[in-house]
Amino acid sequence: MAYRPRLAAGARILPSEITPKEVYFNRRALMAGAAGVAAMTLLPDAAVAALETTPSPFSTDETPTPLEAVTAYNNFYEFGVGKDEPARYAEALTTDPWSVAVDGLVARPATFALEDIVPKVQEERIYRLRCVEGWSMVIPWVGFPLSDLLARVEPLGSARYVAFETLERPDEMRGQRGFFQALDWPYTEGLRLDEALHPLTILATGLYGEPLPNQNGAPLRLVVPWKYGFKSIKSIVRISLTEEQPPTSWSRQAPREYGFYANVNPDVSHPRWSQEKERRVGPGLIAAYQPTLMFNGYEEDVAHLYAGMDLKANY
């Protein structure tokens, strides 16, 4: 592959050196305090198994957003539209056992148990996350390249897109029940095959060195750091390779506002608000703004995927 990773200064720093220490300490306090994870506090500390990871040259050297914010401020409409609702209600989700069907235009379709697709040693990828709503975070994900999984099922030559699907389980996902539902379920997303095979595109199983909290998309989610957050679909149960561009949840909901590509782009406004800047999520009342970067700062890595393409038309 012609792709060469960009080795930014400080990119090889160890995760333990990057992650603010107080954040790791606070995690224990947070766990003990949160009723939702009461069960975990009954287990010995060793049972909250830290995931085995290696650092990645793709990581940013920006300071990660505190764990409390990453796990308390979420969009996961399956558990409600409020930012605090996923953290309150996602504990109801059963993530073990979990299986993922990988099918469609592949030579070897299969339904995998989660443990059969997650490598023993994963990578820590510290990525920027930019939400289409105008806020951003820096998150130390734990995961592995999506291309590794796709290689195992051997995509056919006719495959041009990859479609993803989130679990639909109203019994456990309260946002999927009741009179007023924010989206059509199941949530679906999609990538072009070359986007899916790009080395920045990962399937994440953890953050801050530990398994994903349910509100962050446990047990397996996509992370595509150069696209708006809604592309990074959570709690994946199906991955299908297709010839046609698959329908995606937000573009079905509001096609004029949310496109298939959804690349982070400060020059292409959302029809109702500007995308020129972003607020780094944090506890201070004085919001920390910074300019939004083309492809969320991954321009060198991904711009070639869209060479010659009108990014205003393909928003």
Binding site: E68, A69, A72, Y73, V81, K83, D84, V132, E133, W135, F180, A182, L183, W250, Q253, A254, S269, R272, W273, S274, E276, K277, R279, V281, G282, P283, G284, L285, I286, A287, Y289
Partner: protein, 217 residues
């Protein structure tokens, strides 16, 4: 049943007559004070500025709805809230002012180029600003002296600005959420109903009571 309802309304009206208006300003502004303190002390989550801004805007809309409810409540139930209408309307204005100040100072941090660009391009900002602009003359002419100076007819005509202001406030809220969600739709529906009731021929309280009695028979 209707007789009971009428007794309840009369009892309420009797009790409301004895409620002093001035202390109610403090009650009405308490949620805003709480929001501000909570934002300062880190109890509004991880985007406290947004939570404060949205909270103040929502209270403006709620008090606007309460203001608009006074007349239909009198017409249809005989409940006399009209004495509190100035307090409710002024409170809506104070919340709108605090909401706008939060937007200018904390959200945009006085970035005038962004603010002007927003004002030129973003429908929800344009509509929000227009709603605020409509509330300003209403607040300025809210005193008894201004009613006398303008004359009751002109004053009443001017204060019909409250209708488009309320509609724009609800629309402003609808336009800034990512998708159709229940809460802004519910507020918009309430505003539509309160405005639509004004198109229905008015009934004097006595007649309304008679109508209820007739229905019961």
């Amino acid at each position: 049943m209707a007789a009971t309802a009428r007794t309840v309304v009369e009892a309420l009206n009797g009790a409301l007559k004895r409620v002093p208006v001035l202390p109610l300003y403090f009650v009405a502004l308490a949620p805003g004070a709480w929001l501000f303190l909570a934002a300062l002390t880190g109890r509004l989550g991880f985007e406290p500025m947004k939570a404060l801004e949205q909270g103040l805007g929502l209270w403006a809309l709620r008090f606007m709805i309460a203001t608009l409810a006074a007349t239909p409540l009198l017409d249809w139930t005989g409940l006399r809230l009209v004495r509190f209408r100035r307090m409710l309307g002024l409170t809506a204005f104070y919340y709108a002012l605090a909401h706008l100040a939060t937007y200018l100072a904390l959200d945009q941090q006085f970035g005038w180029s962004f603010i002007l660009a927003d004002l030129a391009k973003r429908p929800y900002i344009i509509i929000g600003m227009a709603a605020f602009a409509a509330l300003v003359p209403l607040a300025l002419t809210s005193t008894d002296a201004m009613v006398r100076r303008l004359g009751a007819a002109a004053w009443r005509k001017l204060h019909r600005l409250a209708y488009p202001a309320a509609a724009m406030m609800a629309l402003h809220y609808l336009l800034l959420v990512k998708s159709w969600t229940a809460e802004p739709l519910a507020y918009a529906a309430i505003v539509v109903v309160l405005l639509a009731l004004r198109l229905v021929p008015r009934r004097a309280p006595r007649r309304a009571a008679g109508r209820v009695a007739a229905q019961q028979a």
